[in-house]
C-alpha cells in the first residue's frame, strides 16, 4: 500500500508511507512494518525492533558502479558475459549463499547450478544444516507461529537467545500474545530457557536450566528417559549435565501436564558438540511427548530467507542444501558438497557467492582457496568476499528496493513491499541475465 501525502511540506520533499512492509533481517520476517520514506530515504520504521530499525534506517544506496571486474568499473553487460564464461569454463563450479535473497532469485541460482553441472549450497550448511539432517532421520512435529501464539502454554527455548537474535519473537509469536486458547497472554504460558549460559533471554524465563557446555545431548536424553519413566542415577545426571535430576523431573512433569508445548531451538544446540545428534534428540523428544499431550518443535532460523532457500533448493533438486550436479543430476552429501568442504578440500575451481561473506567467516584453508579461484560475488555492500571477486555486482536490497517472496522460519511465504529505488539491478535481474548467457553457451556446445 503506497500513499503519497498530499500535504507534503515542500515540493522537494516527497513523502510516502508504506504499510505492512516486511523486514527480512531475521527469521521472524515481521510483515507489519510501517515505513516512512522521504526523498527515497527511509526515515521511520514503525513497529520494527532495534535490529529491524537499523536494517531499514541505515539503508543507503552507495554511489558506486553496479559491476566491478578485477576491482575496476565495468558495465553490467561485461559482467554478465564474464560471469557466464567463468561458470561454464570450470570443472567444479560452486554456487553458495542465497539466504539473503528472495525466492525468485534463489530459483535462478539453482537453475544456473543445474545448467553448469555445478554444486549449490546455502548458508543452511553452516547454521541449521544439522537440523535438516536430523529431520531426515526422525521427522519433525511442528506448526506455524500463529499456532504458538494461539495455543502454546509451555514455551521452551533451547540453545536460542531470541531476546537478542529475534527481538520480536516473544511479543509477536511466542510469549506475550493473547491467543485464542491462551487469552491472558504471558500469564497463561510457562517459559523455560535451557542454555549453557545466562543469556538475556533467561531473564524472561519462569524456569532457567543452565546445563554444562557441550552437554545438550545428555540433557535431552535425560528428558527422553524421564518421559518414558525410566529411572536414572541422580548423581550421574548431575555430573553429566550440571543440573539436578529433580529439576529435570519437575520440567518433565510440567511438559506432560501442559496442553500445547513448544520447543524453539537455535544454533546453541545445532552447532555445538553433537550437532545433528542434538537436533535429532530434540526432535525425538518432541515426538515422544505427543504420547502425552501436544508438543511441537521449531528451529529459530536466522537470516531472513534461509528458510526460502531450503524450500527452493528442495523443490528443484529434491535435497535441501549441499547438492552436487556433476553427474548431470542432483546428489546430496553434507560434508562433501557443502561449501566449506568443497573450498577447504581445494575441489572447487570457480564459483558464485550470493549474499554471503565466506571471505569473512570461513576457515583459513577455505578462504585461501576461494581467493585463488575466479568467482563472482553479488552483494548489497562491499565485503571481503566482493573485494576478492573477479566479478563483483552491487545489487539492490531485497525487501527495501525490490519485491519478491521470503519464507518465515515456519515456512510461511510472505511477499515483500519495496519502499525505495536503487540504481543497482536486483539479484534476480543479475542472475536471470547470467542464466540466459550460461544457457546460450551450453546450447552451443
Amino acid at each position: 500500500m503506497v500513499t503519497t501525502n498530499p500535504e507534503a511540506p515542500s515540493q522537494e520533499t516527497e513523502l510516502k508511507i508504506v504499510e505492512d512492509a516486511t523486514c527480512t533481517f531475521c527469521g521472524c520476517v515481521c510483515d507489519d512494518i510501517e515505513l516512512t520514506v522521504e526523498n527515497n530515504h527511509i526515515t521511520k520504521a514503525k513497529r520494527a525492533c532495534v535490529l529491524g530499525k537499523a536494517w531499514f534506517l541505515n539503508h543507503e544506496v552507495e554511489d558506486r558502479p553496479s559491476c566491478l571486474i578485477d576491482g575496476q568499473p565495468a558495465t553490467v553487460e561485461e559482467g554478465y558475459d564474464l560471469a557466464a564464461k567463468i561458470l561454464t569454463d570450470g570443472d567444479y563450479p560452486i554456487i553458495y549463499g542465497l539466504s539473503d535473497a528472495p525466492c525468485e532469485a534463489q530459483r535462478k541460482a539453482v537453475g544456473i547450478a543445474d545448467w553448469i553441472d555445478g554444486t549449490i549450497d546455502t548458508t543452511t550448511s553452516v547454521c541449521h544444516g544439522p537440523s535438516g539432517m536430523a529431520f531426515q532421520g526422525v521427522g519433525e512435529v511442528t506448526c506455524s507461529l500463529g499456532e504458538v501464539a494461539n495455543r502454546g502454554d509451555m514455551i521452551i527455548f533451547w540453545g536460542s537467545n531470541p531476546a537478542e537474535s529475534h527481538p520480536r519473537h516473544f511479543t509477536k509469536y511466542s510469549l506475550m500474545p493473547k491467543g485464542m486458547f491462551v487469552p491472558n497472554g504471558r500469564k497463561d504460558r510457562t517459559c523455560v530457557i535451557v542454555d549453557v549460559r545466562k543469556t538475556k533471554s533467561a531473564n524472561t524465563a519462569d524456569i532457567f536450566l543452565q546445563i554444562k557446555p557441550r552437554k545438550d545431548f545428555e540433557a535431552l536424553w535425560t528428558l527422553r528417559a524421564l518421559a518414558q519413566n525410566i529411572e536414572l542415577d541422580p548423581a550421574l545426571v548431575l555430573e553429566e549435565t550440571g543440573v539436578e535430576l529433580a529439576v529435570f523431573q519437575d520440567l518433565m512433569d510440567r511438559m506432560k501436564a501442559c496442553k500445547f508445548g513448544v520447543i524453539f531451538f537455535g544454533m546453541g544446540l545445532t552447532m555445538t558438540r553433537g550437532k545433528h545428534c542434538n537436533s535429532e534428540a530434540l526432535l525425538a523428544l518432541t515426538r515422544d511427548m505427543n504420547a502425552y499431550t501436544r508438543f511441537v518443535a521449531k528451529p529459530n532460523r536466522g537470516h531472513g530467507n534461509v528458510t526460502g532457500a531450503d524450500n527452493v533448493v528442495s523443490w528443484r533438486t529434491g535435497y535441501p542444501f549441499g547438492v552436487n550436479h556433476s553427474r548431470g543430476y542432483p546428489r546430496f552429501n553434507p560434508g562433501e558438497y557443502t561449501t566449506s568442504d568443497t573450498l577447504a578440500n581445494r575441489e572447487a575451481d570457480c564459483g558464485m557467492m550470493i549474499a554471503c561473506d565466506p571471505m569473512a567467516n570461513f576457515s583459513q584453508p577455505a578462504r585461501e582457496h576461494l581467493a585463488s579461484i575466479p568467482y563472482i560475488a553479488l552483494d548489497t555492500k562491499i565485503t571481503p568476499t566482493t573485494r576478492a571477486a573477479k566479478v563483483a555486482f552491487s545489487v539492490a536490497t531485497y525487501g527495501i528496493n525490490t519485491g519478491g517472496t521470503v519464507y518465515r522460519m515456519d515456512d510461511v511465504p510472505i511477499p515483500l513491499r519495496p519502499s525505495c529505488d536503487s540504481p543497482h539491478p536486483s539479484d534476480f535481474e543479475v542472475l536471470s541475465q547470467i542464466e540466459k548467457r550460461v544457457q546460450a553457451i551450453i546450447a552451443s556446445r
Binding site: E19, D20, T22, D31, D32, C103, R107, D114, W115, G132, F135, Q136, G137, V138, G139, E140, V141, T142, C143, S144, L145, G146, E147, A149, N150, R151, Y173, F181, K259, R287, N290, A291, Y292, T293, R294, V296, D310, N311, S314, W315, R316, T317, G318, Y319, P320, H325, R327, G328, Y329, P330, F332, G403, T405, Y407, D411, V412, P413, I414, P415, I442
Partner: protein, 552 residues
C-alpha cells in the same frame, strides 16, 4: 504456410463427443482444436501421421500431491529413497531432478507429460501456503495445474456454521478461494484436524461427534460447505476426504457423508481408503464394503468418486489429515512429520510400504480395483492413486492393465494374502474396461467433474492437449510410453523424449460473493493470524500463465 497442424488418420477415442474408435483427422491451430479449414487449398504446416495409432485427449489427474508445503517437506525428508531411484539427467533444454515417491518439481512435470498427462490438480493446499504452491507450479513444466484449498477445519467456516450464518459461510468460501487463487474447496477429515490440534491423539470419530470449542459436527461442515459451494456455482463444488480414513468399519462414516451431501453435487476422494468393514483395529475382521457403497453411488448421480488405488511397494503417505499421520506413524514406526497451520489446517507425512502378503494391504489393493469395476457409470469414477499415498502416478498404466485384463488381475490375486479372496468380490468380477472407458476415467470424466469445458475432449474449441498411443496387446506397455504428447498444440513429448517443455498454465476460479462480509472476515483474521491481512491474498504476479475457469 498456415499455422495448422493436422493429426491424420488416427483412431479417435473421444467419449465426450461419442467417438469410440472412429478414424478421423484432427486439426489444430493457435493451441486449440479447430474445424478443418473451409478452403481446401489450405494445407497444414505440419501433418502428423497417426494411422494405426490411438488418439485421446491429454490425461487429467484430478487428485494428486505434487506441490506446496507438505510435498516439499516430504522431498526434504526422504533422501534415502531418491538416491536409489531413477535419475533425471539434465539435457540442453530440460532441468535435472530426482524421483522416489515424491519427485522434484521439474521431474514431476516431465514424468506426467511422458505418461500422456497434461493437467493435474494438487488436492490439499492450506491457504497460508498457497503462495508456495504457486511458486512450485511455476517450476513444474508441461502441465496445466490447479489446487484445492483446505477449509474443512477452518475456524471461520466452523464459526459461521456454529452461529448459523450461511451467508457469511458462502462469502468466506469464495473470498478464500480467490485469495489463494485456488480451484475448489477441499474438506479433509472435517472437524477432526482441529481436535487433533488441541488434544493428544485427538480426532472426531463419526459424522456426529462434536468438535470441541466450535461445537459443530463433521456432518454440519460437509452439508453446509457443500450447499454453499453449489450455490456459488463453482466448477468443482466440493472435494471431500471423509473422516476416519483407513479405519476398519469406516464405510458407515463414508455412507453418512454421501447422505450429508443432501443431493448436492459432491466428490468423495480416494474412496478406496474409506470403504472398510470390520472393527476394533482387529486385522481379522477387515473386509470390503465396496458393494454397499457402490450401490449408493450407482443410485445417486450427484456423487462422483476417485479411487486412490494402492499399489504394492514403498511410498510416502502425505495428508492434510494430521491425526491420520500420527496413527500411521505409530503403525509403521518410521519418521514422522506433523505440521499444524494456524486457523486452517494440519498435515501428516510418514513413509509406508504396501505388501501383497499383508492381508490389510492386499485388501486395500483389491478394494481399489473393486471400485473401478463396481461403479456402473464410468463418468463418475476417476483413476487416481492419490499420488503418492496409494502409489505413484507412474502406476497408472499398470492400473489400466488391471482394468482391461481380468486374467492379469486374477494372476496377481493369487500372489496376495490367501484370505483376500474371501473378504472382497474382486476374484468374481468378470468386467473388463474398454479403451473408451479408460479414456473416460482418465480424461473425459475428470474434465466433466471439474467443470473444465475445454479439456478432456477433442471437438473444436477444446485445448489442443492430445495424447497419441501405439496400440499394444499389453495395455501397460501401450500406456506407459505414448507415441506423442501434444500440449496447447505443441509436441512436448516424442516417444518418451521431452521435446518442448512448455510452461503450462495455472487454472483458478474467481467466484462472485457478497463483499459486505469482508469486514467481518478481516476483523476475525486480524485477531488471530500471525501475518497481516493485506499480505495474505496471493497477487497476480504469482500466476505467470493462467486461466480463470468459469462457474457452472
Amino acid at each position: 504456410m498456415s499455422d495448422y497442424i493436422k493429426i491424420a488418420g488416427g483412431t479417435i477415442h473421444d467419449p465426450a463427443n461419442d467417438i469410440d474408435g472412429a478414424v478421423r483427422d484432427i486439426w489444430i491451430s493457435g493451441g486449440k482444436i479447430v474445424n478443418p479449414p473451409e478452403d481446401p487449398s489450405v494445407k497444414p504446416s505440419r501433418t502428423i501421421d497417426a494411422h494405426g495409432l490411438v488418439v485421446m485427449p491429454g490425461g487429467i489427474d484430478m487428485h494428486c500431491h505434487i506441490a506446496g508445503p507438505k510435498v516439499n517437506v516430504a522431498r526434504k525428508m526422504r533422501p534415502e529413497e531418491k538416491r536409489k531411484a531413477e535419475v533425471i539427467e539434465r539435457t540442453a533444454i530440460t532441468h535435472s531432478g530426482t524421483m522416489g515417491s515424491v519427485p522434484s518439481t521439474f521431474a514431476t512435470g516431465y514424468k506426467y507429460a511422458g505418461l500422456g498427462y497434461t493437467t493435474a490438480f494438487d488436492a490439499a493446499i492450506p491457504p497460508l501456503g498457497a503462495r508456495h504452491a504457486h511458486e512450485e507450479f511455476d517450476d513444474t513444466p508441461c502441465l496445466d495445474k490447479g489446487f484445492y484449498v483446505l477449509m474443512g477445519n477452518n475456524h471461520y467456516v466452523m464459526r459461521s456454521i456454529q452461529q448459523n450464518e450461511p451467508q457469511k459461510l458462502k462469502a468466506f468460501i469464495a473470498w478464500l478461494l480467490r485469495s489463494a487463487k485456488g480451484f475448489a474447496p477441499k474438506l479433509v477429515n472435517p472437524g477432526g484436524v482441529e481436535v487433533w490440534k488441541h488434544k493428544q491423539a485427538g480426532n472426531v470419530h463419526g459424522l456426529d461427534s462434536e468438535v470441541d470449542h466450535f461445537r459443530v459436527t463433521p456432518r454440519q461442515i460437509v452439508s453446509q460447505v457443500t450447499q454453499a459451494a453449489n450455490e456459488l456455482g463453482l466448477p468443482h463444488p466440493v472435494h471431500i476426504h471423509c473422516n476416519n480414513l483407513g479405519m476398519p468399519g469406516n464405510w458407515e462414516t463414508t455412507l453418512e457423508t454421501m447422505k450429508a451431501l443432501n443431493g448436492h453435487k459432491g466428490h468423495l476422494t480416494h474412496i478406496q481408503f474409506h470403504s472398510y468393514g470390520g472393527g476394533d483395529g482387529d486385522e481379522d475382521t477387515f473386509n470390503s464394503k465396496v458393494t454397499q457403497l457402490a450401490d449408493y453411488v450407482n443410485t445417486h448421480d450427484n456423487i462422483t468418486v476417485d479411487v486412490g488405488q494402492v499399489l504394492f511397494g514403498e511410498t510416502t503417505s502425505m495428508t492434510g489429515d494430521g491425526p491420520l499421520g500420527y496413527f500411521l506413524s505409530n503403525v509403521y514406526g518410521g519418521k514422522w512429520f506433523s505440521g499444524d497451520t494456524e486457523m486452517e489446517a494440519g498435515c501428516g507425512i510418514t513413509p509406508i510400504k504396501y505388501k501383497n502378503k499383508s492381508l490389510v494391504h492386499a485388501l486395500q489393493w483389491a478394494i481399489g480395483l473393486e471400485w473401478y469395476l463396481q461403479v456402473e457409470d464410468p463418468w463418475r469414477v476417476v483413476m487416481s492413486t492419490d499420488h503418492p499415498n496409494g502409489g505413484s502416478f507412474l502406476a497408472y498404466p499398470q492400473i489400466i492393465r488391471y482394468l482391461m485384463d481380468r486374467q492379469y488381475r486374477k494372476d496377481v490375486i493369487k500372489t496376495c494374502h490367501p484370505r483376500v479372496k474371501d473378504r472382497c468380490t474382486l476374484g468374481d468380477i468378470e468386467r473388463e474396461y474398454t479403451l473408451n472407458e479408460i479414456a473416460i476415467i482418465t480424461r473425459a470424466g475428470p474434465a466433466r467433474i471439474l467443470g473444465l469445458k475445454n479439456k478432456g475432449h477433442l471437438a473444436p474449441g477444446a485445448d489442443a492437449d492430445i495424447t497419441v498411443y501405439t496400440p499394444h496387446e499389453n495395455k501397460e506397455t501401450m500406456f506407459e510410453l505414448p507415441r506423442l504428447v501434444i500440449k496447447d498444440g505443441q509436441i512436448i513429448v516424442d516417444q518418451g523424449d521431452i521435446r518442448h517443455p512448455i510452461q503450462g498454465k495455472t487454472l483458478h476460479i474467481e467466484p462472485e460473493y457478497d463483499t459486505g462480509v469482508e469486514a467481518d472476515i478481516q476483523e476475525w483474521f486480524e485477531e488471530f493470524y500471525s501475518i497481516r491481512w493485506r499480505n495474505y491474498p496471493v497477487d497476480a504476479s504469482y500466476l505467470h500463465e493462467s486461466e480463470v475457469v468459469p462457474g457452472r
